[in-house]
Structures are given as structure tokens and as C-alpha cells.
Symmetry: C2
């Protein structure tokens, strides 16, 4: 079946999501079954608005393809639209199918995280229910949170992990220059999954010490234990570095940041004056003396730093785009391209496709056995898992000393 191939992006930005677009386009450019390659601007919202751009021309250029792979965020834009349940309201699905037909779109690859895979699932469900044969819908994974099931890891995670590893090793050098006691609390993204925070352990890979304390959101953290942990580490190290997931909760299941923020709210009328790093920093200041305390939030930099991208991540992200396009063109639908790890040493993977229904709306958190018993470190298994994902660097081009980016719209 010869038709147009549509690609769109959704969910939060990352350093690798554009590489997946390039993979989809690459497959499209060599396939006999693909007529035009289209991009929808702002995800499924762009489909509904018929906001399509032609990608064949711009992406026929090797230079533009390279630029796309080194441009962070989402070159086709993103959206936050959640589709209604197929059983409840078919209107939006009818509209999407009619737009697809109007634009001769037979293959659709949607790149994103849990919510985007939910969109793929629902749309495929509708297509199956209606016996539609001329539209194939595939998901391609993307999330720095690394929380998608049935794939060994997620595009975007490796680059964010490499940023985190690099930043922790640089912070360690920064802190070490003075010879008075310091405590540095670094907040890493992750509301429910601690993968990114765990990646801080990679700062040991260059011979550094790595963070003395690592708290993932998978394990509750009591204030008392935290103070004990810090006091113990202060005896061993002049400079204590602490990595903490933004979503760490106390033993009652409340976000640590929330517990203090609710107090702030009464006084100032706003909630988000501080994240968990500030909260833990304050706990240290109030309970432990004799150390300089600093709280750092890695904030958006951890997801959009293309300068620190992992070659492995960018390469695999591109391959998953190819895999998703390949599956759609082979006639598969309602599935997600995924990575299966074959071995760690040497690192080998294969690209597979999995049932998107088993991925959508699920979160893969860190296995508790990869967190040490005392709850403040990760195990050697975690390190073995993480290490291959940050290997290799990406050569970038610059313009006037700043990274060169492509703008598709």
C-alpha cells in the first residue's frame, strides 16, 4: 500500500526525540510504499488542526538530518491533549480518520511517553473496531523518565543520564576546591520513577566519588533517617553530595516538598516556592551545624542539554524511529517500537515491537532490589544497567559559538 507517512511528537522535550523523527524520515525516504513524509505540528492537536508540514524536502539534506539529531526539545512541537475513551465518544476518532484519508495518510508514527502511547492505543482500538485497513498507527517511545514498560530503556533517558553523570562529576570537582565542610543537595527530575536520580551514580565512572547519598522516589524517606544519613557521611567526607528525586515521599506517602510547601501556602499564598532540594537543604540547616549547604535543581537543563547527549541514545532513538516506520509499513498497528537488551558486555540490543496497550498508562519504576537496603544508594546491577546508555558523544556543529539548531516550522 502506497500512502503518506505522518510523524508527530508529544510529551516533554528531550535531547533525543528529534533523532526519532529523523529515523522515521529515513525509513520513509527509502521505502517504496511511502509517498510523502508529513509532520504534524504540536502532536495529535496538529493532526486535528490539519497543521501538516512536508518533510521530504528539508530532510533529504544530510546536513539538515544531522542538525535535526543535534537539536533538542521537539522540532515538531508537542501537545497535552488526552483523547476521550473510544467507548464513550467516537467523534474525535472519526475526525482523525477523515483527516488522515483527506491527506492520504496511511502510516502514522507517534513519538512520546505514556500519554502518547495511550493515544496510539485508543486510535488503534478505534481502527480495529471499525475494521479500517488503510491506516496503520505505531508508537515510538520517548521519555527521559525511562518509565515505559516492555522496552529495556527509553530514548531521551541516556542523554539525560549522561547530562546528570557529567553534572554530578563537575559539581564534585567544584565542591572539592575548598577545605571546609560542604553539603550539596541536587534535585533530579522524576515524580514516580527514580531512574534519572539513579544515574547520578555514574559520576563514579571517571574515578570520582559519586554522590554519597542517593534517594529515589521509590523508597520513602523520613526526616530522621535523612539527618542520620547526612551526619554519618559528614564524618567520612568533607564534601557530601546528595542526589534526590523530586518526587521523594515521606513515610505517610506525602511528597517531601509538599509537606513544607503546604506551610508556605498559609503564609504567602503560593505553593511552589521550593522543591525537594530546598526542603532537604533547610532540614540540614536546621538540624546540622558546621557545614555550608547548597541546594541545586537541575531543572529543564537535564532534559534539553543536547551538548551532553549520549551517542548511544541518539543512535538508538533514530533506530526506533526506523523500526516504528518499518512496522507501520509492514502493516502492523497498535504497537510500539522497543529496545530489548541482549547483553551488557559487549552491549547489544535488538529492536522489537510490543503491544502498545501493555505500555500505555503504566509506569516502570526502579526495581526495589536495585536500591540498597539502607535506601540511600543504588546497587552494582543498576550501574551495569546504566553504563552502556551514556556511552559515546555527539559531534555538534556551532554557529557563532552557539549550538546550531534546525527549525522545522
Amino acid at each position: 500500500m502506497r500512502a503518506n507517512l505522518l510523524v508527530a511528537q508529544s510529551g516533554g522535550p528531550s535531547a533525543a526525540i528529534n533523532a526519532t523523527v529523523s529515523g522515521v524520515a529515513e525509513f520513509g525516504l527509502v521505502s517504496n510504499n511511502v509517498d510523502k513524509i508529513l509532520g504534524a505540528v504540536n502532536g495529535i492537536q496538529g493532526v486535528l488542526n490539519e497543521n501538516f508540514i512536508e518533510l521530504c524536502d528539508v530532510l533529504s539534506s544530510p546536513r539538515n538530518m544531522q542538525l535535526l539529531c543535534q537539536t533538542p526539545a521537539a522540532a515538531l512541537g508537542s501537545c497535552r491533549l488526552k483523547l476521550a475513551d473510544v467507548d464513550k465518544d467516537e467523534t474525535i476518532y472519526e475526525k482523525i480518520v477523515s483527516i488522515f484519508r483527506k491527506h492520504n495518510i496511511g502510516y502514522f508514527v507517534y513519538i512520546g511517553g505514556n500519554d502518547s502511547m495511550d493515544t496510539v492505543r485508543k486510535l488503534s482500538l478505534y481502527i480495529e473496531k471499525k475494521g479500517i485497513e488503510d491506516i496503520k498507527v505505531m508508537g515510538a517511545p520517548k521519555t527521559i523518565d525511562n518509565d515505559l514498560s516492555l522496552t529495556d530503556h527509553c530514548p531521551g533517558f541516556g542523554s539525560a543520564a549522561k547530562y546528570i553523570a557529567t553534572t554530578f562529576t563537575e559539581l564534585e570537582r567544584d565542591r572539592a576546591v575548598y577545605n571546609d565542610q560542604s553539603i550539596t543537595v541536587v534535585e533530579v527530575m522524576g515524580r514516580n520513577a527514580g531512574w534519572l536520580t539513579a544515574a547520578s551514580i555514574l559520576a563514579k565512572e571517571n574515578g570520582g566519588h559519586g554522590p554519597q547519598l542517593i534517594y529515589l522516589c521509590e523508597k520513602p524517606l523520613s526526616k530522621e533517617k535523612f539527618i542520620e544519613d547526612v551526619k554519618r557521611e559528614m564524618k567520612k567526607s568533607l564534601h557530601v553530595i546528595i542526589a534526590v528525586s523530586e518526587g521523594v515521599k515521606d513515610e505517610d506517602g506525602r511528597y517531601l516538598s509538599e509537606s513544607v510547601q503546604s506551610g508556605d501556602e498559609d503564609v504567602f499564598g503560593h505553593k511552589y516556592i521550593s522543591g525537594v532540594a530546598n526542603v532537604l537543604g533547610d532540614i540540614i540547616r536546621e538540624n546540622i551545624s558546621g557545614a555550608k549547604v547548597r541546594a541545586i535543581e537541575l531543572n529543564l537543563m537535564q532534559r534539553c542539554s543536547a551538548r551532553n547527549a549520549s551517542l548511544t541514545d541518539i543512535y538508538e532513538s533514530r533506530m526506533l524511529g526506523q523500526k516504528a516506520a518499518s512496522c507501520a509499513i509492514e502493516g502492523k498497528t497498535g504497537r510500539m517500537a522497543a529496545v530489548e537488551r541482549i547483553s551488557n558486555n559487549p552491549y547489544k540490543v535488538r529492536y522489537i515491537d510490543v503491544d502498545v496497550a501493555k505500555v500505555a498508562n503504566l509506569e516502570k519504576t526502579v526495581p526495589l532490589e536495585w536500591i540498597t537496603e539502607d535506601g540511600c544508594q543504588v546497587t552494582e546491577e543498576m550501574l551495569e544497567y546504566l553504563r552502556p546508555l551514556i556511552q559515546g558523544e555527539v559531534n555538534m556543529t556551532f554557529i557563532n559559538g552557539t549550538p546550531e539548531h534546525i527549525r522545522l516550522y
Copy 2:
């Protein structure tokens, strides 16, 4: 005069200060007047503790020299010691001189910012006063703040500026993926000098928009004007990005962050719950509706990100180390190596030496004529000044996917 050459580092870490050590060592390695090259650990404090390490061996290796140039922070450590006035108490100076003689140190290069140049000034003053002929003391500049007088710019600044330019351009891409209104306030280092914040304008260099609003600490900012500025920019741009110096003050000369923090102090008993980005973020939330607001602090990453180092900065930092060593060995004392800019297009500099007494304890702030009249942007002259300083990238080596660092002690 043949003697040992001592080098030490002081002040805050940067991505370029180790390149200056490498320059000092390079000059020492080829000079007939230098016996051993020594490093003092933790600056002048290390001198007082006679905590010296031999550098000839380790730095004879080209690979180690490259590693030194790509390692951020301060490989010889830093200190915060301020020497007493020479007129008031000579004890410490007598001690330093006797230690120098004990270790046959004839040449001393001290790398640092204002406070370090004050140490160079005082020590030279003492040496001059006592008619000491066998010890020569030179300063080499270093500060990401770029606030030293008599030098066109300061080592470390160019790399921090490149980090800031890169980060703003990446944040701009990140913000642009959604099509609902956003306002992002990014706090940049600089208590009294706005050079680093001004560098955010370089995000325009790759074709990006650059921050719509740039507030340097040189100009007071009223809450009312800020709200007006933001409202005006929201009408023009879906995504407003604001760069602000941590040291921005209101019209009464009070730090903006302080004004809110003093309120916090009464309630919580601590001062540093939020920086100026959080304060401005809250002002927006309280006064302007209809936009997602995010506050970001670039924190220590802006001074220790070696991955984003500027080749120009690293090269010049090395040359300034050579210049300082060269001056000391020529018999100069009480002076600081500096950069004089000859032209912008093509960018040309020469390396000079200046009277350290005219540098110490002074701060070079941004000329008011380089800030636009409305106080929320910088001029074309500023851009012309900044542009050459971020040119070129540094090739780094990695180990297991993380940047390789050298450890000297």
C-alpha cells in the same frame, strides 16, 4: 636567577582556571631560570601550610596537560584567606617569605579574582618595602564574573558565557514545544556585575530569539516596571524568557531576593529559601494570569560546566598563565597578566601586564551605555564585545561516557 616556580589558585571555581596553571607550567618547563614547578594546595593557605606538590613530572605528559585543561573547578584547590594589611601586621608576610626561601621559590604566580589580586598586591608591597630581590610575585586573572579592571575580559568568563548562551538557546527550544503561554525566569550569577546575565543575549546568535527581557544588576528594577515589561512581552511572544542577575536591586538599593527573604526569615528562621528568579516568578504569578511560570537557577553549573567551555577562553587562559610566569621570570613583580583587545573583526588581542594595585578590590561593572534605555535589554556594542569570547569548542576525552578529569592531589 634560577629558582623554583610556584603556582596557586584562589577564588571560585571555573572551567578555565586550570588552563592557566597549564600555561604557567608550560612556561616553566621551557625556561632556563626555572628549577622545579610547584603547586600550593588551597592557595595561599597551602603556602602557609607548606602543602606543596611537584608538578614537573605530572605535567610533562601532553595527555595530562590536556586533561588539566579540560578539568573544571580548581585542580590545586582554593581558599578564602584574606591577608592582614602590610602596615598593620607583617607576621604572615615574614612567614610566607621564609617559606618561599626554604623551598627556593623565586617566582610565584597567583591565579584568581579580586581578593587574590589583593593578596598579590599586599605580598608585593611587603617585598618592595623590605627590598627583597629574590622573590617575584605575579597575578593571573580568573573570574567568571568578568569584573576585573584593566583587562578586556577575564579567564573563565568566556566559558561561563558560552554555557549561558547554549543553555538559553536550549531552554528557548524547550519552551517552544507547547503552544500555550509560558514565562521562564532564569537567574544568572553576578552580585554586582551583570556580564554573565548579559551573555544570555548570545542565544540570538544561532537564529534564536534570545531572552525578551534581560535585567542586569547595574540598573535598579521596580516591581511595577517588571510587571509592565512582562505584560508587554506576553503580547508579542507566546514564550517569554527572562534573564536576571542574582544581584538585581530595587530602587531603594535592596536586593530583590532579600526583600522577600527578609519576610521568610521571620516565619522560617532562614534566609535563602529563594533566589531572585523565584521572587520574580512569584511576582508574575501574583500579578499576571494566563501563563505557566517557571523559575530556573543556573547555579554552580554555569561555572563548572567544562563540556561547554569556549576554546577562545581556554586558550587565552593558558596564554595568561604563560604571560604571568614570563613576567615573574623577567623580574616583574606586583603586576597582573591581562588581555588587551586590539580588534573585534578579526578578533585580536595581545597579552600585557598591568599594575595589580589598580586591579585589586575594584569591580568592573557593565557600562550603563551598554544597557538599553528601558533597562531590559543590552545593546549591539555588548553583543560585539561578547561574541568573540565564546568562539570555538574544546575537544574532550571521556571515560566510560563521563568527562575525564585529572586529580593533582
